[in-house]
Symmetry: C2
Subunit: 480 residues, 2 copies
Amino acid sequence: MDPPREKWKNKFNEWFREVIYKAEVYDYRYPVKGIGVWPPYGMKIRNNVISILKDLLNQTGHEEVLFPLLIPEEILRKESEHIEKFEDEVFWVTYGGRKKLERKLALRPTSETAIMEMLKLWIKDHTDLPFRIYQIVNVFRYETKATQPMIRLREVTMFKEAHTAHATMEDAEKQVRSAIEIYKKFFDELCIPYMISQRPEWDKFAGAVYTIAFDTLMPDGRTLQIGTVHNLGQNFSRAFEVTYLKPDGTHEFVYTTSYGISERVIAALIAVHGDDHGLVLPYNIAPIQVVIVPIPYKGTENTVFELCNRVIKVLKEIGLRVYLDDREDITPGEKFYYWELKGVPLRIEIGPRDVANNCVTVSRRDTLERKVISIAEIKTKIPELLEDIRRNLRARARKWLQQHTFFSEKLEEAANIVNNRKGIVVVPWCGDTDCGLNIEDSLEGSVLGIPLDLEINVKGKRCIMCGKEAKTVIRVSKTY
Amino acid sequence: MDPPREKWKNKFNEWFREVIYKAEVYDYRYPVKGIGVWPPYGMKIRNNVISILKDLLNQTGHEEVLFPLLIPEEILRKESEHIEKFEDEVFWVTYGGRKKLERKLALRPTSETAIMEMLKLWIKDHTDLPFRIYQIVNVFRYETKATQPMIRLREVTMFKEAHTAHATMEDAEKQVRSAIEIYKKFFDELCIPYMISQRPEWDKFAGAVYTIAFDTLMPDGRTLQIGTVHNLGQNFSRAFEVTYLKPDGTHEFVYTTSYGISERVIAALIAVHGDDHGLVLPYNIAPIQVVIVPIPYKGTENTVFELCNRVIKVLKEIGLRVYLDDREDITPGEKFYYWELKGVPLRIEIGPRDVANNCVTVSRRDTLERKVISIAEIKTKIPELLEDIRRNLRARARKWLQQHTFFSEKLEEAANIVNNRKGIVVVPWCGDTDCGLNIEDSLEGSVLGIPLDLEINVKGKRCIMCGKEAKTVIRVSKTY
């Protein structure tokens, strides 16, 4: 069974809000706009996601650090393009107690400036390079548009920002490619399908030489940016005077990059895999991987619970997160409903017949299919099933993205795709900024940029807007 | 060798600042007063400390959550004693971009108010109780006194705050006792000696019925508060209208507690164990537990490195964090100095003679003693040594605290102890607040409160201030 995404097209927001609230992933009833609470179940999902991300970064030469939240105004202003973009989005602290502060302090919207201020002290010599750090912190944006839980927030609480410094532009480029590989692995782990695009000039990060972004497609036909990688060149190092001593005795400004991921990945995870029953979680993210529901009839309680405990023991021994739902005040049916909502990948039902046949009944969350497994096979079959569910989640989400990616050379056709939120359209483009902006206007969508994960052959193709020779193609969609 | 704490008495601050900077635990050069950066090495220490704390909380029925940083003014004001105390300490956000906000938002100084606001929605029924959550977050205080790295901060970055709700005052009391047990285990894990005192009325947490605090003694003779446990009774639940349905159909306000720990524990860890060479870390906290320093002479490189790798393999197999310092541009002596500064519990030196004798030379960080161990013994002796170092750290720190705790019934003598920062003095007290405040004035110190970890027998004793019959004793010291 595939998630009924087409059906949701116009009620996705409703579905999303309902499922994250009911499954206790995120509580948006906190009385400040665009700011919410992570209750225990959501926090466990989040910790599992963070753990995968940290492992990937730690394995690739990144070290975790922690920088302050508050950035003095004069430091935030050092890189001019940067502040120009963030000027309208920054929250300012102006009072300490009853006393007006002598200088305003910004709540970090991102930490390039705070970090560059310290890199100036930390980096001296070419042997200090490459330099790779990351932190997972809260950042703030004064969003004036409609906010949305986990997606468009005023307090982003899970911002993983990596920052690197290098001796040459070539090394910075290499780091960008390495960051892309890390993110690919990360999204693959989460079974989230993605498109990689180089953002157009008019949509790159404020202060970047260029920005590469990961987008996924949400069930309502809009794309969601889930990760970005910026090559900052020497823009920030010049503004902050971060230089290093070269082997030849001269000094040069370092080349820096930065790349980020936020709780939007959890929103994407929920959106691309969920169905009418609720969450569907891959087992590496699921706080509970297997739930055991005993179905005892009068007089069989002892033997049923005995088998439950045997099964739990076997599964714990192979390192699985198992939970026995032995609540007495609700029916097995209510338990099924509850754990499906929570997205537990596998449910094992154990009743007297299972005891008699020395087997269990297993129900997989992705397809809701049930089958019987003998006790002897549990140790091997359960991990296989969990892996198979993950494979299926990844495959069907990818397929859906592919099915909703269109190529068009006709403006009207392309506009129809974007306007009706059918998905992403790839169109030929001459490379001219004005043409790009006109395409956005005509299609009533956003240019995601030049695909880095598609083979592009535009020989003989014409720009969809001006009709001149196309230099490349660009992805266009409605976006979040 | 004991840390030369007496010697440091008047230069402790200097020593502390120097060692956390040089060992790269904490960088206080960030250009905002009372706010600093955690570089990679400090972050690893911090993560190890957090991991121990989280395990203890997770094992005792607490669930991790995450609440917002920003608290609207009207919510912070709901509990009147609370805001009265924090009024002068709160940072206020007043602008979003260029726009003045309609209502001021506080940077949380602590999260009781934000959490009560949600508990009102989360707790309905007696079956929802007991309710235990915690989070590890940054909190802010507009400190006007002199700030101090990791000790007196404007941004506290590692605030673990637990919050619980209960059906009865008795259950809340039980939770307070349970929290004290958790903290005792935690400080024991860190080998930090502590005193447990019930804070006097005039020094309890703003909004609490009573506060119990953990203090340790710093080398300069002042005590440092390293943990607090508050019984909040119904003070917050009344202000926020958090009630639950009792089995008899009536509603009652819940009883709440809260308890906190911050990065001050890391400051204490460094202060109580460190010596003239730098940090001294217990192995469960040390990012690197064993460092291997090869000492090859020309021609012996191969055999020396071969033995290094054999030793590393053995130690990794038993789960230790081992590091081979194979830098070629510095001498073994410089390496010794470097790793002693970083507090690595054990150093293993391997030279040609060790190869010839099939042994290694081990140097322990706490006593700087060296001894030779045969290769065959490594697997058992190294873990034993690490455990022995931890035992020694705990014992000598405890002893030092005991040696600096005095009992006095004479005002002049007691004043001399506190004033000259000799340590803590325990004095008889009649229980009267005015007398307590007079004791603080006369001794030029602070009343830590009534000891909960000492047997108190005041039969026949007289209040050190007024001479009336003593009801109890209180601890007094100079404090941070």
